[in-house]
Symmetry: C2
Subunit: 288 residues, 2 copies
Protein backbone atom coordinates (compact mmCIF):
# COMPACT_ATOMS: atom_id res chain seq x y z
CA UNK A 1 0.00 0.00 0.00
CA UNK A 2 1.25 3.44 -0.89
CA UNK A 3 1.85 5.85 2.02
CA UNK A 4 -0.58 8.47 0.66
CA UNK A 5 -3.54 6.10 0.83
CA UNK A 6 -5.15 5.59 4.21
CA UNK A 7 -5.70 1.99 5.25
CA UNK A 8 -9.47 2.40 5.52
CA UNK A 9 -9.71 2.99 1.81
CA UNK A 10 -7.42 0.20 0.64
CA UNK A 11 -9.69 -2.83 0.78
CA UNK A 12 -13.42 -3.24 1.30
CA UNK A 13 -14.51 -3.69 4.91
CA UNK A 14 -17.35 -5.85 3.67
CA UNK A 15 -18.26 -7.50 0.38
CA UNK A 16 -21.45 -9.18 -0.81
CA UNK A 17 -22.13 -11.19 -3.95
CA UNK A 18 -25.82 -11.35 -4.87
CA UNK A 19 -26.67 -10.45 -1.29
CA UNK A 20 -24.35 -12.89 0.48
CA UNK A 21 -20.92 -12.26 2.01
CA UNK A 22 -18.23 -13.24 -0.49
CA UNK A 23 -14.66 -12.48 -1.42
CA UNK A 24 -14.54 -14.04 -4.89
CA UNK A 25 -16.41 -14.18 -8.19
CA UNK A 26 -16.51 -16.82 -10.92
CA UNK A 27 -13.45 -17.02 -13.16
CA UNK A 28 -16.01 -17.03 -16.01
CA UNK A 29 -17.46 -13.61 -15.07
CA UNK A 30 -18.28 -11.58 -18.18
CA UNK A 31 -17.46 -8.56 -16.03
CA UNK A 32 -13.88 -9.84 -15.90
CA UNK A 33 -13.60 -11.09 -19.48
CA UNK A 34 -15.23 -8.13 -21.24
CA UNK A 35 -16.04 -5.45 -18.67
CA UNK A 36 -19.63 -6.41 -19.46
CA UNK A 37 -21.31 -4.46 -16.69
CA UNK A 38 -21.82 -1.23 -14.77
CA UNK A 39 -20.94 0.31 -11.43
CA UNK A 40 -21.99 2.99 -8.97
CA UNK A 41 -19.94 4.67 -6.25
CA UNK A 42 -22.20 5.90 -3.48
CA UNK A 43 -21.41 8.15 -0.52
CA UNK A 44 -22.94 6.98 2.75
CA UNK A 45 -23.28 9.59 5.47
CA UNK A 46 -24.93 9.09 8.85
CA UNK A 47 -25.89 5.53 8.00
CA UNK A 48 -27.67 6.54 4.78
CA UNK A 49 -26.71 6.28 1.10
CA UNK A 50 -26.68 9.77 -0.44
CA UNK A 51 -28.47 10.52 -3.74
CA UNK A 52 -29.57 6.89 -3.80
CA UNK A 53 -32.57 7.51 -6.04
CA UNK A 54 -30.31 9.04 -8.70
CA UNK A 55 -27.78 6.20 -8.40
CA UNK A 56 -30.49 3.56 -8.77
CA UNK A 57 -32.07 5.36 -11.72
CA UNK A 58 -28.74 5.62 -13.53
CA UNK A 59 -27.93 1.97 -12.84
CA UNK A 60 -31.36 0.95 -14.15
CA UNK A 61 -30.94 3.08 -17.28
CA UNK A 62 -27.49 1.59 -17.92
CA UNK A 63 -28.74 -1.94 -17.37
CA UNK A 64 -31.53 -1.32 -19.83
CA UNK A 65 -29.09 -0.01 -22.46
CA UNK A 66 -26.79 -3.01 -22.02
CA UNK A 67 -29.67 -5.47 -21.79
CA UNK A 68 -28.73 -6.64 -18.28
CA UNK A 69 -31.59 -7.66 -16.00
CA UNK A 70 -31.92 -5.63 -12.81
CA UNK A 71 -34.31 -5.41 -9.89
CA UNK A 72 -33.41 -1.98 -8.46
CA UNK A 73 -35.20 -2.73 -5.18
CA UNK A 74 -32.74 -5.57 -4.54
CA UNK A 75 -29.79 -3.20 -5.00
CA UNK A 76 -31.53 -0.60 -2.86
CA UNK A 77 -31.99 -3.07 -0.01
CA UNK A 78 -28.39 -4.22 -0.21
CA UNK A 79 -26.97 -0.70 -0.30
CA UNK A 80 -29.15 0.46 2.61
CA UNK A 81 -28.10 -2.60 4.61
CA UNK A 82 -24.42 -1.98 3.87
CA UNK A 83 -24.77 1.69 4.83
CA UNK A 84 -26.65 1.15 8.09
CA UNK A 85 -24.72 2.29 11.13
CA UNK A 86 -21.81 3.76 9.13
CA UNK A 87 -21.00 7.37 9.98
CA UNK A 88 -19.16 7.75 6.66
CA UNK A 89 -18.47 5.08 4.08
CA UNK A 90 -18.19 4.52 0.35
CA UNK A 91 -20.32 1.81 -1.22
CA UNK A 92 -19.41 0.52 -4.63
CA UNK A 93 -22.00 -1.51 -6.51
CA UNK A 94 -21.11 -3.57 -9.57
CA UNK A 95 -23.74 -5.10 -11.82
CA UNK A 96 -22.53 -7.46 -14.53
CA UNK A 97 -24.19 -9.70 -17.09
CA UNK A 98 -22.94 -12.59 -14.96
CA UNK A 99 -21.05 -15.81 -15.51
CA UNK A 100 -20.55 -16.61 -19.19
CA UNK A 101 -22.69 -19.40 -20.61
CA UNK A 102 -20.56 -19.69 -23.74
CA UNK A 103 -17.08 -18.69 -24.86
CA UNK A 104 -17.04 -15.50 -26.92
CA UNK A 105 -18.68 -12.10 -26.90
CA UNK A 106 -22.20 -13.29 -27.54
CA UNK A 107 -24.52 -13.37 -24.52
CA UNK A 108 -27.05 -16.17 -24.72
CA UNK A 109 -29.62 -14.15 -22.80
CA UNK A 110 -29.81 -16.83 -20.12
CA UNK A 111 -27.05 -15.35 -17.97
CA UNK A 112 -27.84 -14.57 -14.35
CA UNK A 113 -26.65 -11.02 -13.55
CA UNK A 114 -24.07 -10.57 -10.81
CA UNK A 115 -24.56 -7.93 -8.11
CA UNK A 116 -21.54 -6.99 -6.05
CA UNK A 117 -21.76 -4.61 -3.09
CA UNK A 118 -18.51 -3.42 -1.51
CA UNK A 119 -18.18 -1.09 1.47
CA UNK A 120 -14.99 0.93 1.90
CA UNK A 121 -13.84 3.39 4.54
CA UNK A 122 -14.32 7.08 3.76
CA UNK A 123 -11.26 8.60 2.05
CA UNK A 124 -9.33 10.80 4.47
CA UNK A 125 -8.28 13.35 1.87
CA UNK A 126 -11.72 14.54 0.74
CA UNK A 127 -12.42 16.67 3.80
CA UNK A 128 -9.13 18.56 3.38
CA UNK A 129 -10.05 19.67 -0.14
CA UNK A 130 -12.99 21.93 0.61
CA UNK A 131 -11.00 25.05 -0.20
CA UNK A 132 -10.11 23.94 -3.69
CA UNK A 133 -8.00 21.42 -5.54
CA UNK A 134 -5.23 21.16 -8.09
CA UNK A 135 -5.96 19.52 -11.42
CA UNK A 136 -3.97 18.70 -14.56
CA UNK A 137 -4.91 17.92 -18.13
CA UNK A 138 -4.42 14.38 -19.35
CA UNK A 139 -2.54 13.22 -22.41
CA UNK A 140 -4.85 10.21 -22.69
CA UNK A 141 -7.91 10.80 -24.86
CA UNK A 142 -11.36 9.25 -24.56
CA UNK A 143 -12.62 7.19 -27.50
CA UNK A 144 -16.05 8.22 -28.79
CA UNK A 145 -18.89 5.73 -28.82
CA UNK A 146 -22.46 7.03 -28.63
CA UNK A 147 -23.70 3.57 -27.64
CA UNK A 148 -21.59 3.64 -24.46
CA UNK A 149 -21.61 7.39 -23.80
CA UNK A 150 -23.00 8.43 -20.44
CA UNK A 151 -22.82 4.93 -18.97
CA UNK A 152 -20.79 4.16 -15.88
CA UNK A 153 -19.63 0.87 -17.39
CA UNK A 154 -16.72 -1.37 -16.47
CA UNK A 155 -14.49 -0.53 -19.47
CA UNK A 156 -12.18 1.89 -17.67
CA UNK A 157 -8.71 1.39 -19.12
CA UNK A 158 -8.67 4.95 -20.43
CA UNK A 159 -9.15 6.23 -16.88
CA UNK A 160 -6.54 3.79 -15.53
CA UNK A 161 -4.00 5.04 -18.07
CA UNK A 162 -4.84 8.68 -17.40
CA UNK A 163 -4.59 8.16 -13.63
CA UNK A 164 -1.14 6.60 -14.08
CA UNK A 165 0.24 9.84 -15.54
CA UNK A 166 0.90 11.53 -12.18
CA UNK A 167 1.93 10.61 -8.66
CA UNK A 168 1.69 14.00 -6.98
CA UNK A 169 -0.85 13.45 -4.17
CA UNK A 170 -1.68 17.17 -4.28
CA UNK A 171 -3.23 16.76 -7.74
CA UNK A 172 -6.67 15.24 -7.38
CA UNK A 173 -7.71 14.63 -10.96
CA UNK A 174 -6.92 15.14 -14.65
CA UNK A 175 -9.19 16.61 -17.30
CA UNK A 176 -9.66 14.45 -20.37
CA UNK A 177 -10.52 15.32 -23.97
CA UNK A 178 -12.23 13.12 -26.52
CA UNK A 179 -10.42 11.81 -29.59
CA UNK A 180 -11.97 14.69 -31.54
CA UNK A 181 -10.63 17.29 -29.10
CA UNK A 182 -13.70 18.00 -26.96
CA UNK A 183 -13.40 18.52 -23.24
CA UNK A 184 -15.30 15.69 -21.54
CA UNK A 185 -14.54 15.14 -17.84
CA UNK A 186 -11.99 14.27 -15.20
CA UNK A 187 -10.88 10.66 -14.78
CA UNK A 188 -13.33 10.31 -11.86
CA UNK A 189 -15.36 13.51 -12.00
CA UNK A 190 -17.47 15.71 -14.22
CA UNK A 191 -16.35 19.25 -14.94
CA UNK A 192 -18.16 22.58 -14.97
CA UNK A 193 -16.91 25.92 -16.31
CA UNK A 194 -18.24 29.31 -15.29
CA UNK A 195 -18.22 31.99 -17.99
CA UNK A 196 -19.92 35.36 -17.55
CA UNK A 197 -21.83 34.01 -14.57
CA UNK A 198 -23.27 31.07 -16.53
CA UNK A 199 -22.50 27.36 -16.12
CA UNK A 200 -21.17 25.21 -18.92
CA UNK A 201 -20.58 21.47 -18.77
CA UNK A 202 -19.58 19.10 -21.58
CA UNK A 203 -22.25 17.24 -23.51
CA UNK A 204 -21.87 13.51 -23.05
CA UNK A 205 -23.44 12.08 -26.20
CA UNK A 206 -20.17 10.64 -27.53
CA UNK A 207 -18.25 9.70 -24.41
CA UNK A 208 -17.97 10.34 -20.70
CA UNK A 209 -19.99 9.33 -17.67
CA UNK A 210 -23.21 11.18 -16.80
CA UNK A 211 -22.52 11.64 -13.11
CA UNK A 212 -25.26 11.75 -10.49
CA UNK A 213 -23.63 14.81 -8.87
CA UNK A 214 -23.47 16.46 -12.30
CA UNK A 215 -27.23 15.95 -12.64
CA UNK A 216 -27.79 17.24 -9.10
CA UNK A 217 -25.75 20.39 -9.79
CA UNK A 218 -27.61 21.01 -13.06
CA UNK A 219 -30.91 20.73 -11.14
CA UNK A 220 -29.68 23.08 -8.40
CA UNK A 221 -28.51 25.59 -11.00
CA UNK A 222 -32.06 25.65 -12.35
CA UNK A 223 -33.45 26.31 -8.87
CA UNK A 224 -30.93 29.16 -8.40
CA UNK A 225 -31.91 30.57 -11.83
CA UNK A 226 -28.36 30.21 -13.07
CA UNK A 227 -28.03 29.61 -16.79
CA UNK A 228 -26.59 26.12 -17.22
CA UNK A 229 -25.81 24.64 -20.62
CA UNK A 230 -24.55 21.27 -21.77
CA UNK A 231 -22.26 22.28 -24.63
CA UNK A 232 -19.49 21.14 -26.93
CA UNK A 233 -16.42 22.55 -25.23
CA UNK A 234 -12.73 22.45 -26.07
CA UNK A 235 -9.36 23.61 -24.74
CA UNK A 236 -10.11 27.25 -25.58
CA UNK A 237 -13.27 27.17 -23.48
CA UNK A 238 -11.23 25.72 -20.66
CA UNK A 239 -8.62 28.46 -21.03
CA UNK A 240 -11.34 31.12 -21.04
CA UNK A 241 -13.19 29.90 -17.95
CA UNK A 242 -13.30 32.24 -14.95
CA UNK A 243 -14.19 29.48 -12.51
CA UNK A 244 -13.85 25.75 -12.82
CA UNK A 245 -15.15 22.97 -10.60
CA UNK A 246 -15.33 19.20 -10.48
CA UNK A 247 -18.21 17.08 -9.25
CA UNK A 248 -18.68 13.50 -8.20
CA UNK A 249 -20.84 11.57 -5.79
CA UNK A 250 -18.19 11.51 -3.07
CA UNK A 251 -16.59 14.96 -3.31
CA UNK A 252 -19.70 16.96 -4.15
CA UNK A 253 -18.30 20.14 -5.70
CA UNK A 254 -14.55 20.78 -5.67
CA UNK A 255 -13.40 24.20 -6.80
CA UNK A 256 -10.36 23.95 -9.05
CA UNK A 257 -7.78 26.44 -7.74
CA UNK A 258 -5.01 25.42 -10.10
CA UNK A 259 -5.09 23.84 -13.56
CA UNK A 260 -1.68 22.84 -14.95
CA UNK A 261 -0.09 25.46 -12.65
CA UNK A 262 -2.52 28.19 -13.80
CA UNK A 263 -4.23 29.71 -10.72
CA UNK A 264 -8.02 29.96 -10.75
CA UNK A 265 -10.40 31.90 -8.53
CA UNK A 266 -12.63 30.17 -5.99
CA UNK A 267 -15.43 32.22 -7.46
CA UNK A 268 -18.89 33.33 -6.39
CA UNK A 269 -20.87 30.95 -8.62
CA UNK A 270 -18.95 27.91 -7.38
CA UNK A 271 -19.42 29.00 -3.76
CA UNK A 272 -23.11 29.61 -4.29
CA UNK A 273 -23.57 26.12 -5.77
CA UNK A 274 -21.54 24.50 -2.99
CA UNK A 275 -23.79 26.18 -0.45
CA UNK A 276 -26.96 25.13 -2.29
CA UNK A 277 -25.64 21.55 -2.56
CA UNK A 278 -24.91 21.45 1.14
CA UNK A 279 -28.49 22.50 1.92
CA UNK A 280 -29.88 20.05 -0.63
CA UNK A 281 -27.93 17.14 0.86
CA UNK A 282 -28.92 18.14 4.39
CA UNK A 283 -32.58 18.23 3.35
CA UNK A 284 -32.24 14.84 1.71
CA UNK A 285 -30.65 13.44 4.87
CA UNK A 286 -33.41 14.95 7.04
CA UNK A 287 -36.08 13.30 4.85
CA UNK A 288 -34.28 9.99 5.48
Amino acid sequence: MSPDRPAAEAHPESAWLNGRPASEVSIEERGLHYGDGLFETIACIGGRPRLLARHLARLAAGAERLGIGLDPSQVETEVRTAAAGQARAVIKVLLTRGRALARGYRATGGEIPTRITLRYGWPADHSTQAQGVRVRTSGVCLGENPRLAGLKHLNRLEQVLARSEWNDAQIVDALMFSSSGRLISGTMSNVFLVRDGALLTPRLERCGVAGVMRATVLALAGQLRLTATEAELDARDLAGAGELFLTNALIGIHAVRELDARPLAFGAVTQRLQHALELHLEEEAARG
Copy 2:
Protein backbone atom coordinates in the same frame (compact mmCIF):
# COMPACT_ATOMS: atom_id res chain seq x y z
CA MET B 1 -27.29 -22.70 -23.20
CA SER B 2 -28.44 -21.83 -26.69
CA PRO B 3 -28.97 -24.73 -29.12
CA ASP B 4 -26.42 -23.41 -31.64
CA ARG B 5 -23.56 -23.61 -29.16
CA PRO B 6 -22.04 -27.02 -28.59
CA ALA B 7 -21.61 -28.07 -24.98
CA ALA B 8 -17.83 -28.41 -25.31
CA GLU B 9 -17.51 -24.70 -25.90
CA ALA B 10 -19.84 -23.48 -23.17
CA HIS B 11 -17.63 -23.66 -20.09
CA PRO B 12 -13.92 -24.25 -19.59
CA GLU B 13 -12.92 -27.89 -19.12
CA SER B 14 -10.08 -26.68 -16.90
CA ALA B 15 -9.14 -23.42 -15.25
CA TRP B 16 -5.97 -22.27 -13.50
CA LEU B 17 -5.26 -19.13 -11.51
CA ASN B 18 -1.56 -18.28 -11.28
CA GLY B 19 -0.76 -21.87 -12.14
CA ARG B 20 -3.16 -23.58 -9.74
CA PRO B 21 -6.60 -25.06 -10.43
CA ALA B 22 -9.26 -22.50 -9.53
CA SER B 23 -12.79 -21.51 -10.35
CA GLU B 24 -12.87 -18.03 -8.82
CA VAL B 25 -10.95 -14.76 -8.66
CA SER B 26 -10.86 -12.01 -6.04
CA ILE B 27 -13.88 -9.72 -5.92
CA GLU B 28 -11.27 -6.92 -5.87
CA GLU B 29 -9.77 -7.90 -9.26
CA ARG B 30 -8.84 -4.83 -11.29
CA GLY B 31 -9.65 -6.98 -14.31
CA LEU B 32 -13.26 -7.03 -13.10
CA HIS B 33 -13.50 -3.45 -11.88
CA TYR B 34 -11.79 -1.74 -14.82
CA GLY B 35 -10.95 -4.33 -17.46
CA ASP B 36 -7.37 -3.60 -16.44
CA GLY B 37 -5.70 -6.42 -18.34
CA LEU B 38 -5.18 -8.36 -21.55
CA PHE B 39 -6.08 -11.69 -23.08
CA GLU B 40 -5.03 -14.20 -25.73
CA THR B 41 -7.11 -16.88 -27.43
CA ILE B 42 -4.88 -19.71 -28.59
CA ALA B 43 -5.68 -22.65 -30.85
CA CYS B 44 -4.23 -25.95 -29.62
CA ILE B 45 -3.89 -28.70 -32.21
CA GLY B 46 -2.32 -32.10 -31.66
CA GLY B 47 -1.41 -31.24 -28.08
CA ARG B 48 0.45 -28.07 -29.07
CA PRO B 49 -0.45 -24.37 -28.86
CA ARG B 50 -0.38 -22.85 -32.36
CA LEU B 51 1.49 -19.60 -33.09
CA LEU B 52 2.51 -19.54 -29.44
CA ALA B 53 5.57 -17.35 -30.01
CA ARG B 54 3.40 -14.67 -31.60
CA HIS B 55 0.80 -14.89 -28.82
CA LEU B 56 3.47 -14.56 -26.12
CA ALA B 57 5.14 -11.66 -27.91
CA ARG B 58 1.85 -9.78 -28.25
CA LEU B 59 0.95 -10.42 -24.61
CA ALA B 60 4.38 -9.17 -23.53
CA ALA B 61 4.08 -6.06 -25.69
CA GLY B 62 0.61 -5.34 -24.28
CA ALA B 63 1.77 -5.88 -20.71
CA GLU B 64 4.63 -3.47 -21.29
CA ARG B 65 2.26 -0.83 -22.67
CA LEU B 66 -0.11 -1.18 -19.71
CA GLY B 67 2.71 -1.47 -17.19
CA ILE B 68 1.69 -4.95 -16.02
CA GLY B 69 4.48 -7.27 -14.93
CA LEU B 70 4.81 -10.49 -16.94
CA ASP B 71 7.14 -13.46 -17.09
CA PRO B 72 6.26 -14.89 -20.54
CA SER B 73 7.98 -18.19 -19.73
CA GLN B 74 5.45 -18.78 -16.94
CA VAL B 75 2.56 -18.28 -19.36
CA GLU B 76 4.32 -20.47 -21.91
CA THR B 77 4.67 -23.32 -19.43
CA GLU B 78 1.05 -23.03 -18.33
CA VAL B 79 -0.30 -22.93 -21.88
CA ARG B 80 1.84 -25.89 -22.97
CA THR B 81 0.71 -27.86 -19.93
CA ALA B 82 -2.95 -27.05 -20.63
CA ALA B 83 -2.56 -28.06 -24.29
CA ALA B 84 -0.74 -31.33 -23.69
CA GLY B 85 -2.73 -34.35 -24.85
CA GLN B 86 -5.55 -32.29 -26.38
CA ALA B 87 -6.30 -33.13 -30.00
CA ARG B 88 -8.07 -29.80 -30.45
CA ALA B 89 -8.76 -27.19 -27.81
CA VAL B 90 -8.98 -23.45 -27.27
CA ILE B 91 -6.87 -21.91 -24.54
CA LYS B 92 -7.75 -18.46 -23.27
CA VAL B 93 -5.16 -16.62 -21.21
CA LEU B 94 -6.02 -13.53 -19.19
CA LEU B 95 -3.39 -11.33 -17.63
CA THR B 96 -4.59 -8.57 -15.30
CA ARG B 97 -2.94 -6.03 -13.03
CA GLY B 98 -4.27 -8.13 -10.17
CA ARG B 99 -6.20 -7.52 -7.00
CA ALA B 100 -6.66 -3.83 -6.22
CA LEU B 101 -4.53 -2.43 -3.39
CA ALA B 102 -6.61 0.74 -3.15
CA ARG B 103 -10.05 1.92 -4.25
CA GLY B 104 -9.99 3.96 -7.44
CA TYR B 105 -8.28 3.89 -10.81
CA ARG B 106 -4.77 4.46 -9.54
CA ALA B 107 -2.53 1.41 -9.41
CA THR B 108 -0.04 1.57 -6.55
CA GLY B 109 2.54 -0.40 -8.51
CA GLY B 110 2.62 -3.06 -5.82
CA GLU B 111 -0.16 -5.18 -7.36
CA ILE B 112 0.59 -8.82 -8.09
CA PRO B 113 -0.56 -9.61 -11.65
CA THR B 114 -3.18 -12.31 -12.13
CA ARG B 115 -2.68 -15.03 -14.75
CA ILE B 116 -5.73 -17.05 -15.74
CA THR B 117 -5.52 -20.02 -18.10
CA LEU B 118 -8.79 -21.55 -19.34
CA ARG B 119 -9.12 -24.53 -21.66
CA TYR B 120 -12.29 -24.91 -23.74
CA GLY B 121 -13.44 -27.53 -26.20
CA TRP B 122 -12.88 -26.78 -29.88
CA PRO B 123 -15.87 -25.02 -31.48
CA ALA B 124 -17.83 -27.41 -33.68
CA ASP B 125 -18.74 -24.83 -36.29
CA HIS B 126 -15.26 -23.77 -37.42
CA SER B 127 -14.59 -26.86 -39.52
CA THR B 128 -17.83 -26.38 -41.49
CA GLN B 129 -16.84 -22.88 -42.60
CA ALA B 130 -13.85 -23.71 -44.77
CA GLN B 131 -15.75 -22.88 -47.96
CA GLY B 132 -16.59 -19.38 -46.85
CA VAL B 133 -18.73 -17.49 -44.40
CA ARG B 134 -21.45 -14.88 -44.19
CA VAL B 135 -20.70 -11.53 -42.57
CA ARG B 136 -22.63 -8.35 -41.81
CA THR B 137 -21.64 -4.80 -41.05
CA SER B 138 -22.18 -3.55 -37.51
CA GLY B 139 -24.03 -0.45 -36.41
CA VAL B 140 -21.76 -0.19 -33.36
CA CYS B 141 -18.66 1.92 -33.89
CA LEU B 142 -15.24 1.57 -32.27
CA GLY B 143 -13.96 4.48 -30.22
CA GLU B 144 -10.51 5.71 -31.19
CA ASN B 145 -7.71 5.71 -28.65
CA PRO B 146 -4.11 5.44 -29.86
CA ARG B 147 -2.96 4.44 -26.38
CA LEU B 148 -5.13 1.31 -26.47
CA ALA B 149 -5.05 0.63 -30.21
CA GLY B 150 -3.70 -2.77 -31.21
CA LEU B 151 -3.97 -4.21 -27.70
CA LYS B 152 -6.08 -7.26 -26.96
CA HIS B 153 -7.27 -5.72 -23.70
CA LEU B 154 -10.24 -6.57 -21.52
CA ASN B 155 -12.41 -3.53 -22.40
CA ARG B 156 -14.69 -5.30 -24.87
CA LEU B 157 -18.15 -3.78 -24.43
CA GLU B 158 -18.10 -2.49 -28.01
CA GLN B 159 -17.67 -6.05 -29.25
CA VAL B 160 -20.34 -7.35 -26.86
CA LEU B 161 -22.81 -4.76 -28.17
CA ALA B 162 -21.90 -5.48 -31.79
CA ARG B 163 -22.24 -9.23 -31.25
CA SER B 164 -25.71 -8.70 -29.77
CA GLU B 165 -26.99 -7.22 -33.04
CA TRP B 166 -27.69 -10.58 -34.71
CA ASN B 167 -28.81 -14.08 -33.80
CA ASP B 168 -28.54 -15.80 -37.18
CA ALA B 169 -26.07 -18.64 -36.56
CA GLN B 170 -25.16 -18.58 -40.27
CA ILE B 171 -23.55 -15.15 -39.85
CA VAL B 172 -20.15 -15.57 -38.24
CA ASP B 173 -19.04 -12.00 -37.64
CA ALA B 174 -19.76 -8.31 -38.19
CA LEU B 175 -17.41 -5.71 -39.63
CA MET B 176 -16.92 -2.63 -37.49
CA PHE B 177 -15.98 0.94 -38.36
CA SER B 178 -14.27 3.48 -36.15
CA SER B 179 -16.05 6.59 -34.89
CA SER B 180 -14.40 8.49 -37.76
CA GLY B 181 -15.74 6.06 -40.36
CA ARG B 182 -12.71 3.87 -41.00
CA LEU B 183 -13.07 0.14 -41.50
CA ILE B 184 -11.25 -1.57 -38.62
CA SER B 185 -12.08 -5.25 -38.07
CA GLY B 186 -14.70 -7.84 -37.23
CA THR B 187 -15.87 -8.22 -33.65
CA MET B 188 -13.49 -11.18 -33.24
CA SER B 189 -11.40 -11.10 -36.39
CA ASN B 190 -9.21 -8.94 -38.55
CA VAL B 191 -10.25 -8.21 -42.11
CA PHE B 192 -8.37 -8.25 -45.42
CA LEU B 193 -9.52 -6.90 -48.77
CA VAL B 194 -8.15 -7.96 -52.13
CA ARG B 195 -8.08 -5.28 -54.82
CA ASP B 196 -6.31 -5.78 -58.17
CA GLY B 197 -4.48 -8.79 -56.76
CA ALA B 198 -3.06 -6.83 -53.80
CA LEU B 199 -3.92 -7.20 -50.12
CA LEU B 200 -5.24 -4.37 -48.01
CA THR B 201 -5.91 -4.48 -44.29
CA PRO B 202 -6.90 -1.64 -41.95
CA ARG B 203 -4.23 0.26 -40.05
CA LEU B 204 -4.69 -0.17 -36.32
CA GLU B 205 -3.07 2.95 -34.88
CA ARG B 206 -6.35 4.35 -33.51
CA CYS B 207 -8.35 1.28 -32.60
CA GLY B 208 -8.70 -2.43 -33.21
CA VAL B 209 -6.74 -5.49 -32.15
CA ALA B 210 -3.50 -6.43 -33.93
CA GLY B 211 -4.26 -10.13 -34.38
CA VAL B 212 -1.57 -12.80 -34.42
CA MET B 213 -3.19 -14.38 -37.50
CA ARG B 214 -3.24 -10.97 -39.18
CA ALA B 215 0.53 -10.70 -38.59
CA THR B 216 1.03 -14.26 -39.85
CA VAL B 217 -0.93 -13.54 -43.04
CA LEU B 218 1.02 -10.33 -43.65
CA ALA B 219 4.27 -12.30 -43.28
CA LEU B 220 3.04 -15.03 -45.64
CA ALA B 221 1.96 -12.43 -48.20
CA GLY B 222 5.54 -11.15 -48.19
CA GLN B 223 6.87 -14.65 -48.80
CA LEU B 224 4.41 -15.09 -51.67
CA ARG B 225 5.48 -11.71 -53.09
CA LEU B 226 1.95 -10.39 -52.81
CA THR B 227 1.67 -6.67 -52.26
CA ALA B 228 0.17 -6.17 -48.79
CA THR B 229 -0.57 -2.75 -47.36
CA GLU B 230 -1.89 -1.55 -44.02
CA ALA B 231 -4.10 1.34 -45.09
CA GLU B 232 -6.85 3.69 -44.02
CA LEU B 233 -9.93 2.05 -45.49
CA ASP B 234 -13.59 2.96 -45.46
CA ALA B 235 -16.97 1.69 -46.66
CA ARG B 236 -16.13 2.50 -50.31
CA ASP B 237 -13.00 0.34 -50.14
CA LEU B 238 -15.12 -2.44 -48.73
CA ALA B 239 -17.67 -2.03 -51.51
CA GLY B 240 -14.91 -2.10 -54.12
CA ALA B 241 -13.12 -5.22 -52.84
CA GLY B 242 -13.03 -8.22 -55.17
CA GLU B 243 -12.25 -10.67 -52.39
CA LEU B 244 -12.65 -10.34 -48.66
CA PHE B 245 -11.45 -12.56 -45.84
CA LEU B 246 -11.36 -12.66 -42.06
CA THR B 247 -8.55 -13.94 -39.88
CA ASN B 248 -8.15 -14.96 -36.29
CA ALA B 249 -6.08 -17.41 -34.30
CA LEU B 250 -8.78 -20.08 -34.29
CA ILE B 251 -10.30 -19.83 -37.76
CA GLY B 252 -7.14 -19.05 -39.70
CA ILE B 253 -8.45 -17.51 -42.92
CA HIS B 254 -12.18 -17.46 -43.63
CA ALA B 255 -13.24 -16.34 -47.09
CA VAL B 256 -16.25 -14.03 -46.90
CA ARG B 257 -18.80 -15.32 -49.42
CA GLU B 258 -21.54 -12.90 -48.48
CA LEU B 259 -21.43 -9.43 -46.92
CA ASP B 260 -24.85 -7.96 -46.01
CA ALA B 261 -26.43 -10.24 -48.67
CA ARG B 262 -23.91 -9.15 -51.34
CA PRO B 263 -22.24 -12.26 -52.80
CA LEU B 264 -18.43 -12.32 -52.98
CA ALA B 265 -16.06 -14.59 -54.85
CA PHE B 266 -13.92 -17.16 -53.06
CA GLY B 267 -11.05 -15.77 -55.05
CA ALA B 268 -7.58 -16.89 -56.10
CA VAL B 269 -5.62 -14.70 -53.68
CA THR B 270 -7.61 -15.89 -50.67
CA GLN B 271 -7.19 -19.52 -51.73
CA ARG B 272 -3.46 -19.05 -52.27
CA LEU B 273 -3.07 -17.56 -48.80
CA GLN B 274 -5.18 -20.29 -47.21
CA HIS B 275 -2.93 -22.90 -48.81
CA ALA B 276 0.24 -21.10 -47.72
CA LEU B 277 -1.13 -20.78 -44.19
CA GLU B 278 -1.94 -24.48 -44.06
CA LEU B 279 1.64 -25.32 -45.03
CA HIS B 280 3.02 -22.79 -42.57
CA LEU B 281 1.00 -24.22 -39.68
CA GLU B 282 1.94 -27.78 -40.65
CA GLU B 283 5.61 -26.81 -40.68
CA GLU B 284 5.25 -25.14 -37.30
CA ALA B 285 3.56 -28.24 -35.91
CA ALA B 286 6.30 -30.48 -37.34
CA ARG B 287 8.98 -28.34 -35.65
CA GLY B 288 7.16 -28.92 -32.34
